[in-house]
Amino acid sequence: MSSNEPNIEVAKKLGILEEEYHKIVEHLEGREPNFTELSIYAVMWSEHCSYKNSIKYLKTLPRTGPHLLAEAGEENAGLVDIGDGLACAFKIESHNHPSAIEPYQGAATGVGGINRDIFTMGARPVAQLNSLRFGDPSLEKTKWLLKGVVKGIGDYGNSFGVPVLGGEVFFDKSYNTNPLVNAMSVGIVDKGKTISAIAFGEGNPVFIVGSSTGKDGIHGATFASGDLSETSMDDLPAVQVGDPFQEKLLLEASLELAGKDYIIGMQDMGAAGITCSTSEMSEKGGVGMDINLDLVPTRQEGMLPFEILLSESQERMLVVVKKGFENQVTEIFDKWDLNCVQIGVVTKGNTLRYFAKDELVAELPADTLVLGGGAPVYDREYREPAYHQKAKSFTIDSIKEPEDLKAVTEFMVAQPNIASKKWIIKQYDSMVGTINMSTNNPSDAGIVNIKDSNKAIAVTVDCNARYVHTDPQVGCSIAVAEAARNIVCSGGEPSAVTNCCNFGNPYNPEAYWQFVMAIKGMGEACEKFNTPVTGGNVSFYNQTVTKDGDVPVLPTPTIGMIGLVNDKSNITPLGFENEGDHIILLGESKNDINSSEYLRSFHQVELSPAPYFNMDEEYHMQDTLQKLIKAGLINSAHDCADGGLMITLLESSYVNNIGFSIQTKNGIRRDAFLFGEAQGRVVLSVSKNNFDSFKQYCNNNNQIFELIGSVIGSVAIVDGNSIGSIKGLKETYNNSLEKIILN
C-alpha cells in the first residue's frame, strides 16, 4: 500500500487531535494510517460528520412517537406517517461556514444538499423553508452577505422547482461575520416507496450517479468544523459549487427509480462525498465495499485518490443496485442524460477498500468511521457564563414608560427584525408546485396542500435567539412552543421536529454550556408538546470576529416543525376578516418587556431575562385553541411573538386592510401590554354571534382570555387614540428593510 509517511503533525493539520490519532492506529490494529486514510478519518471524525461533541446530548431528546416511521439517525431525514398511505420526509440543515465566505454558492448548495436528503429517500420535495441570521443590516458586509445568500437560495430553489413556504430573517451584530443559513425541506412519499440508505448483499454493484467529481469542497466538512477567522477566505476552495439543473434531473431520475424494485439503497453525497456515503451505507448493512476510484467520472485529469474520496462536488448519489438490474438502472439515468457508472461492489465483512491504478490506496473498517461506531464521543467541559445571572437583575422599573405610543409604534414597525421581509421573499418562487395554500390566505405556519385529499401539512421554522442567549434552557423551550403555536394557530396539530443547532466553539466552556442547556430545554418542550425530534444538524464554531476578539453568535437552535391538518376547513388565517368581530387575547397580559425587540431596539437594553413563559399554561392554551378552531368559533388567529401584541394586531390588519380599536388593561404598563413578548398568547378574532359560545367554552376549560377590542375601520386605535392608518403603517412595514438593504 502506498504511503507518504504521515505523522501526528500531519494529522493535526487535518484537524485530528493527538488522542484521536492514537485511536485511529488502534482501529487499524496497530498500523499507522497513510495520508489517504488519515484524510478519511479527518473528515469522518470531523464535528460535521461525527457529532462527536454533541451526540451525547442529542441522544437525550425524545425520539419516538406514534407517527414516526424513521427515528433520528436511521435515515437521511425524519419520516412521519400522515395517513392515506402517505409519509412526510423532512429535515433542516445548516450551511453557515460556506455562506460566510461565499454567500451565493454557500447558500445555494445548502438548498441543494437538504433537498437531496429528502429525495434520496424517494420523497418529492414539496416545500422549502429557511432560517437566516445576519449581522447589523446597515453594514456593507451584511448587505453583501444577505444579497448573496438570498440570490443563492432563490437561484437554486427556483430552478430546482421547490416553493419556499416559510422562514425567518433575524439581525443581530453577533452574526456580523458569521451569518447563519439554515435550510429545511419537506417532501411527500408513498409509504411503500421509500428508499433506505443501506448497502447489503455480497456482489451487488455499487454505482455513482449524477454529476462528475471535481476538486471542489475537499475537506469542506473539516473546514466547517473549525473556527471562522480572518484567514477563512483562504479556504475558498473548500466551498462547493451548485448546479440546480443537474439536481432537478437527479431528482426526476431518483424518483423514477423509487417507483421500481431495482435497488437496495441510495444515499446522497454531501459532506465527505464518496467516503461518507460508502462508509455509512456499508456500516448500516454490516458489509464492506471494494471501490475502484479510477472508474469515478471526474471533471479534471489527475485527481489524487484522496481528492476523489473527499470531494464534495454536488448533485451526486451512491446507489447500491440489485445484481442483474444494472441495465434497467442505467436506462433511467440515460434518459435524464446523467452519469451512471459502476464503481465497485458490496463485499462480505465490514472492510472498505479503495483502489486506484490497481493499487489499494486505503483499507479501513467501515464501523470505525461513523457515528455510533468507532467515531469518538466527547463530553466537553461547560460553565455557566456570568451574564446569565446578571441578566436576572433587570427589572421593568428601570425603564421609563414612553408617553408617545404612536412614535414607539412607528419606530417598531420599521425595525429590521419586525419589518416585512417581502423584498427577500419575492426573490423565492413560493408558488411552484401549486401546493402553497398560504399565498392568498396567509396563516402563522405555511400550509402545504395535499392534492386530492382533505389533508394538508403545516410547516414552520422558529427560534428567537435573544431568548436562548439570555436563558438557553427556557429560550429553547420557547422556540419549540412558538413553533407549535404557529402550527396550532394555522389549524394544524404539531407532529414532529427537526432541529438545527447553531452554536459557538464547543471547546469554549461557556458556549458549550449554552448548547447543553438549550438541548435540555428543547427536550423538555418536545416531550410536553408531543413532538419528537426526528433529526437535524449541529453547527458549532459559529463566531464573529471583532477587534476585541472572537464573539460566539447568539446560540441559535432553530426548530423546524411539521404539523398535520386533518381537515382543510380548519385552516385558520392570521388576518382579520370582518369588521365588527371581537378581538380576543387568548392567554394573559403580563407586566413584562423582558428580552423584547422593544427593550432591545427602543431602549437599547442588551441584557434582560427571558420573557414570561409557563410551559403548562402554554400547552393548555394551544390545546384549547385547537378545540376552538375545530368547533368553528375562530375567524383568525395570530400568535404574539417578536414585537408583542401591537405588531401582532397590525400584521392581522395588513392582510385585508382592516383596522382595530383596543383598550389597554389596568394594572399593566401600556408599553408592556403593547410591546412585551410574554409567551403563551394568541390574538383571535371571533364573530359577535359566536362570542357566547366562545366564552362558555373557555370558562369550561379554565382558559384565561381577555376581550381587548374589535375589528373596525382602517385605523389602529388604542384607548380611543389613533396610532396611525393601517395603510400608512403597512407602507412603512413593507418598505423599511428594502430601504436599508439597497441604501
Binding site: N158, S159, K248, K426, V432, G433, T434, N440
Partner: protein, 230 residues
Amino acid sequence: MKFGVITFPGSNCDQDMIYVLESIMGFEVVKLWHKDHDLQGAEFVVLPGGFSYGDYLRSGAIARFSPIMNEVVNHAKKGGYVMGICNGFQILCEAQLLPGTLQHNNSQLFVCDNVYLKTATSNSLVTNALQKDQVIKVPVAHAEGRYFNHAEGIKALEDADQVLFRYCDANGLVNDFTNLNGSINNIAGITNTNRNVFGMMPHPERAADTNLGNIDGKKIFESILNQVSV
C-alpha cells in the same frame, strides 16, 4: 380537445399544468418528452414553465433545439394551437413562433408575486371568457420576463390586436409604476398574427385551484373550453 404538455429537462411547472388541465378542467392530456418526435395526436400543445436546460445560456435558447420542437413548429405552422407559459413563452420567442424577446427584469432580480393583468383583447382562444379591460390576479415567477421588441414590431402587435395581457394594478391602471418588469407597453402576454400561438409570463395554472384561494387564472382555461364546446 386533446392537450400535450412537453417536459424539457429542467421544466418544473409541467406537473402543475397537467394537474389543472386534467384534474380541474377535465381535459385529455398526453405527456410529451423533449426527445420525442411525435405529438401523439395533441391538438393543443403547452410548453410549461421552469428552467429548461437550467436556462444557462439564455432562457429558452437551448430548449428550442430539442427534437420535439420540430414537431411543435410544424404543428403551429399548420395552424395548430401552441401555448407557452413563462419559460415556455421564452422558448416560443427563441423558436420565433412568437415575435420579440424576453430580457432580464429591470430590477435584475427574480420576482415571484401575485400581479394584476388587464385583458387587452378578448379576441383570442385563451381570452374569450374575459371582457376586454377585465382585471385578473395571476402569479408571476421569473427573472427574465421583460418583453422587448423593436418599435415596428410593437406597432404591428398593437395594430393587429395581438397583445393579450398588460401588467396593471388592482384598479386596472397601466403605467410605469404598475409595470412589473419593464416590459414595453406593460406587455405580459401576446399571440401571433394567425392567433394560434400564445405566450404569457404569468402562470394561470397557479391560479386555478380553489384550495389555493385564487381562481382568476382558470378563466384562461375556460376560454379554451368555451371554444371547444362551440
